[in-house]
Symmetry: C2
Subunit: 367 residues, 2 copies
């Protein structure tokens, strides 16, 4: 844990429970083996993993591996979603193949969103921002696809479906009698998304890392189970996963695309974004006097989270900010001002890059 | 019912019950509207239908329609399977498009038979015999495909899956908790098989006739239900169906590929086939004396069935045979001899045609 800072204090506890109960391992224990670990790793934002040793082995010994993630396009992309992009960028720099699935079939089954809508949203909202945020989608090692157009994924989904029962699926996903059959089938598509980089046509079996939120762990467990069951036929290696914290919304609840006040959208105007920051729920006390005496509570502060996740790159600066908050030296107004300024820098940069990103995005998937 | 003979006597009663209870209509009521109705139709072997009026309308007014059926390759083709071929041939002569699905995905989910095995069996066992029996597979209006390679079918299956719940599927197919998910999904592929001739790429909405056994009626009902639910998006017309009797096996039970003594396989040697005929269960009495007095029981006789379904084309000859049996004029030995001779003619013809049929079959699906 030499290169790890812990910006969380006690708020990490919930995630500790999660890891204890479901067999997710502590990411702290592998982080020292990672060459040039990212801030998301060293700051404990990525807090847990399954089987990450396969990935550190690949990273340290220049072995081939792949990174896989998916998106179900719905609503606008917010700053919490940036975490995934940051991870993809990091793995791309480490020469990993990147597989990115647009889960249009899932969007159809679960929400009735048609393929064309999914495509529009994925390309024009998400991918444009991914590119503007620095993901190099023009590299050969970057594979973007619509689930509905990936025959390997669709065929693999059906094949692996033979070794999972309704009972298993129901206990994982909570299906009931009124669940539609396309919906029941959908998790198999996600499992196939994760496994298909290991098909012969994609270079055969290899370690695969899936960076996700902890809510996705049931998928990961099902995928690992099915990888093992089809090891004989396909040589599948059980994929690895990391689990990252969710961002707290600016209102104190979960940050969500469907709650505009909770989230800073990447396409918000700078004015709107700053306004949201200024009215955000912080870890401040009831009065300035009290705060000066008791200090603030960074672990309950959505602005502090914003700084840790996205805005402050310098660990020392972050530590100092935390200390100054805890001792009451800086108050919420200061932090909001600081976050607003840093956000403005980021948004200006994004806006500059978005025009070119739009052009590139249009070339990615014919439609 | 002018052109209909009833070779069944009272044994038709079971099928009558079936039609009464589940809303299958009597085929007798439409048979007079069919131009050049086939023997399977006039003899009541095809005993029931749903919505056949759409097909008589197409037949009489030279409207476009399609015929759809599928095969799940398993075991060897027996003479009972010939009924489907006879129906396809008839519809082909009536200028119907013919769609024939090889249900390799179903074979995989339900029985663990892989795609290559399904292909081998479908082509080398079934299709070779279909061709030898006279189906013209070289016509433009003949469409043969493997389910696993038909993207339209696979994509349509998922799409329609959104409007059927697990509860519905379970009540139709009797799934339980231990049923695998691929299996649960499979009926959607069959529904899509039946509906896909109506997709724009296949010429758009049109009447479709599905000739099946009565055990397949749940599929038909589900398909008609989903056709109606997706009428708005696709313009689907609810497909029509006919239902034909099953052949009684030579042992008195159901004729089945997995019971060699019950079935005459199309690739049996003439010697073996005749041997099976000679030892078949008939409607004969305990003694020759008794039979001369009481007459035989053609409606309980597997040899008589063979003559009605496949071997005697002339209705008068058949009527006479029935009468002569009922009055004790002919006895089982006579009929067995007659059936053996007719079978030998059919098998010689099939054997002659099979060599060329094998060559044609190999050109149908690349593999």
């Amino acid at each position: 844990m030499d290169n790890m800072i812990d910006p969380w204090g006690s708020s990490i506890i919930d995630y500790d429970k999660l890891t204890g109960q479901f067999g997710i391992k502590d990411f702290k224990d592998v982080v020292d083996d990672i060459p040039d670990a990212s801030k998301l790793m060293t700051r404990g934002i990525i807090f847990g993993h399954r089987d990450y040793e396969k990935i550190t082995d690949a990273l340290n010994n220049s072995k081939e591996f792949a990174t896989m993630t998916g998106m179900m396009p719905s609503g606008r992309m917010h700053i919490g979603h940036k975490m995934v992009v940051d991870q993809l960028k990091w793995y791309q720099k480490k020469k990993s193949d990147i597989y990115l699935s647009i889960a249009d079939m899932e969007a159809y089954a679960a929400r009735g969103i048609d393929k064309q809508q999914s495509w529009n949203l994925a390309i024009n909202e998400y991918i444009v921002n991914y590119i503007a945020l620095g993901l190099d989608v023009t590299k050969d090692n970057f594979h973007l696809y619509l689930q509905s157009e990936n025959d390997s994924v669709k065929d693999l989904a059906y094949t692996i479906g033979r070794k999972v029962t309704f009972s298993q699926m129901r206990s994982i996903y909570g299906f009931d009698n009124s669940t539609n059959i396309a919906h029941i089938y959908t998790p198999l598509l996600q499992v196939a998304d994760i496994l298909h980089p290991q098909l012969e046509e994609n270079g055969g079996p290899k370690p695969v890392i899936v960076p996700v939120g902890p809510d996705q762990d049931p998928h990961i467990r099902l995928t690992r189970d099915l990888a093992a069951k089809f090891n004989e036929e396909y040589g599948f290696i059980e994929p690895s996963a990391t689990f990252h914290r969710f961002m707290t919304g600016l209102t104190g609840e979960k940050m969500s695309s469907s709650k505009p006040k909770s989230a800073i959208y990447l396409t918000d105007s700078i004015k709107d974004a700053v306004k949201k920051v200024k009215s955000a729920k912080t870890g401040g006390r009831d009065s300035l006097k009290e705060q000066k005496e008791l200090g603030g509570q960074p672990d309950k502060c959505s602005i502090y989270e914003l700084l840790v996740y996205h805005l402050v790159d310098d660990d020392e600066k972050l530590s100092k900010l935390r200390d100054d908050c805890l001792t009451g030296k800086v108050v919420c107004g200061n932090c909001k001002q600081c976050a607003s300024e840093l956000l403005e820098v980021m948004f200006n940069d994004l806006n500059d890059k978005r025009a070119e990103a739009e052009e590139i995005a249009q070339t990615l998937l014919e439609k």
